[in-house]
Amino acid sequence: MTVWRPLLSLLGAAVIVGCARTNKAHETVLTFSGSALGAEGTLVAKQLKRFMQLHPDIRVELQRTPDDASQRHQLYVQWLNARVGNPDILQLDAIWTPEFAAAGWVLPLTRFSPASSEFFPATIAANTWAGQLYALPWFADVGLLYRRTDFVPKEPRSLGELVTDARQAMARAAGPRFGIVWQGARYEGLITGFVEYLGAFGGKILDDSGRVVVNRPEAVRALQFMRDELYSWHIAPLDVLTWHEEEARYAFQNGTAVFMRNWPYAVGAMSDKTQSRVAGKFAVSPMPASGEPNGHSTAALGGSQLAINAYSESPDAAYRLIEYLTAPDQMLERAQAVGQYPTRPALYRDSRLRNAIAIPPDDARRAIESATPRPVTPIYTELSEILQIELHRALVRQAEPQDALNSAAERINALIERTGMRKLMSAPHNAPVPAATSTPSRTE
């Protein structure tokens, strides 16, 4: 008995402490999840702390999730399948929102009347499913064309000009070995690059009514163009077919390439004179159009969104936090701390942004305005996998572009059938599926 008594009293104390913790002043406890490493982690912690000072009745806990997107995705899917209410706020990749929305895992934001017109239209379109907005864009990532200003002073206005510029620079005595480098390995990065060429030729993967149009002539010409860069004009090295973002950056940073397709993150490292041979000798612009009738300058859209877990116990508090984090001040602070691009066009007129991001804000804004979301569909991931394989087959010359894209279209159609997407899209309770490029108007 004498042994048990102190143990029991300890247990009692623990129970009391535990109760005190959960009952304290009936405050709302929110969990926020997302990548929280290094400078980004410090920034998030700082902003959450400020939010709690503004809202003493809400306590926010930071739940660390893997920085790697596909790992975070897998974790979220497992939690949401188990209907777990934590974390209340999810950080979604640009291509996940329709999947999570169709699965009923995140709440539509309509009832909070978000000010969606203040964001770039493409970032809103990417987060809209069946006519409703499901997440607010937190920061934007956008495909850029980097060029060596010492060889190509003026940005190319068409893809044809790009090829000429690249070949001329390569032919010069001290010219770089490669004309253009991009991400051609079989992974999601290949799709983002393809989407840009596709838009340049006026093609699409899915049309506005969700039909598969990836084997139309425009798409075949876009893919043929990428192949010609490799095998006809020899401006892209065959190595790019195994490259991701970093390999391309190393090549450009070491001065071996005239042009590079990459995301804004590369600006930072390449501006550093101690590790970069091209510091001060490069500029960015949007990828040019092909010059064909329907073609337009296109940038792939990436970035992060914030959404509310459908099983959250305090969705209203969660929305307040999302609203706070996506407010102009926090976005600007984010750009200043970690160089991530705001999703609000108005901020690009703010002089403080000029020092925060490494390229002229106008160039960045132009690129984001030409951004196109990848197909906005709940089955995006599997659709992308099919396309990655077929594109790669065409680029390594295992298949002709037309055949590869026909096969992709056939398999994507089978996927749409198998997953009941057609029924889901035409279900009476759903509003018509919005076009990938249209701006939603039903948010008020």
């Binding site: 999947e99 009923g104 195994t242």
Partner: protein, 301 residues
């Protein structure tokens, strides 16, 4: 009478004693297997809760039968298994014969040969990837210097060349293991057989064909079983080296299953794929044990 009841008691005691072990096996082997079979009969897509989780009979298996990517993956797996194991057996046998001789430093050599086997597969794969990766990589530099290649190759964008690092890496890593198994077999052969053959004037080749190889048969069989089952489950090596590419032309079944199950979260279809792989490897093991006419550990061995 007394004897029989005693036997019954012993039998019951025996069952009671192996009971815990049997229930552990049931829990960790039979239950998950049963669950996988159960999943494979359902439509279960973690990402698409709107589809529900209905029972669909053998529909997943029908889809597998019609899936060209699965058949291609099966062919890649068989190709990888046959080529790498043939090389490993031949080279491993040479190594084993060499190590079986009596020479100074034999212990050291035996230990040193095992080093590649001790390296984790992912690390070994990364190493080989590094060797073959870029146009300025070690493999390209050596082959161009030796005038075997005119120009550096991008190894991973052609099916034929993408297999080279994969097979090389597997042979490099696994031959020591094969050699060790064969060495154990060699040491079981009675030396007096060779002495008798030598007295009768048999040369080394005759001795190898008529003494060493027949008596090594059980060891070769064990090696084949181990290596075939390993080969059929090859995953990490190819995942790191080629990712199954270019396209999907080096993708083995295990990688395809991983992709369906853990990347696309198609639990039903992925489970059906797992069951098919299990059935194939199980079938292969049976064929080996029956077909080669050797009883493992039996009295007639």
């Amino acid at each position: 009478m007394r004897k029989i009841s005693r036997l019954g008691y012993e039998a019951r005691l025996g069952w009671a004693l192996v009971g815990p072990a049997l229930s552990v096996i049931a829990l960790i082997a039979i239950f998950p297997l049963g669950w996988t079979v159960w999943e494979s009969l359902h439509l279960h897509e973690l990402r698409m809760p709107w589809l529900g989780q209905p029972f669909i009979g053998l529909a997943n298996y029908v889809e597998i039968a019609k899936d060209p990517r699965f058949w291609a993956a099966l062919a890649h797996t068989a190709f990888f298994t046959v080529v790498s194991i043939s090389l490993e057996l031949v080279i491993g046998l040479f190594l084993a014969l060499a190590m079986n001789r009596v020479f100074r430093g034999r212990g050291f050599v035996r230990a040193a040969v095992l080093v590649p086997w001790a390296i984790p597969t992912v690390v070994a794969a990364l190493l080989w990837r590094f060797i073959f990766e870029s146009q300025g990589g070690i493999a390209n530099a050596l082959l161009v210097d030796a005038h075997i290649l005119k120009q550096p190759l991008v190894w991973f964008i052609q099916t034929s060349t993408a297999w080279v690092p994969v097979i090389l890496a597997d042979v490099w890593k696994t031959t020591p293991f094969v050699a060790l198994l064969l060495l154990a077999g060699l040491q079981n052969i009675d030396l007096s057989l060779y002495e008798a053959a030598a007295v009768d004037g048999a040369n080394a080749w005759w001795q190898l064909r008529h003494i060493t190889l027949p008596l090594l048969k059980p060891a070769i069989l064990v090696t084949l079983i181990f290596r075939t089952l390993d080969g059929f489950r090859v995953f990490d090596l190819i995942y790191v080296l080629t990712g199954g590419g270019p396209g999907t032309s080096t993708e083995p079944v295990a990688l395809y299953t991983f992709n369906a199950l853990l990347q696309n979260l198609r639990f039903g279809y992925g489970s059906a794929l797992s069951v098919v792989i299990f059935a194939i490897t199980f079938g292969l093991a049976l064929i080996y044990v029956r077909g080669l006419g050797v009883r493992l550990g039996g009295e007639e061995a």
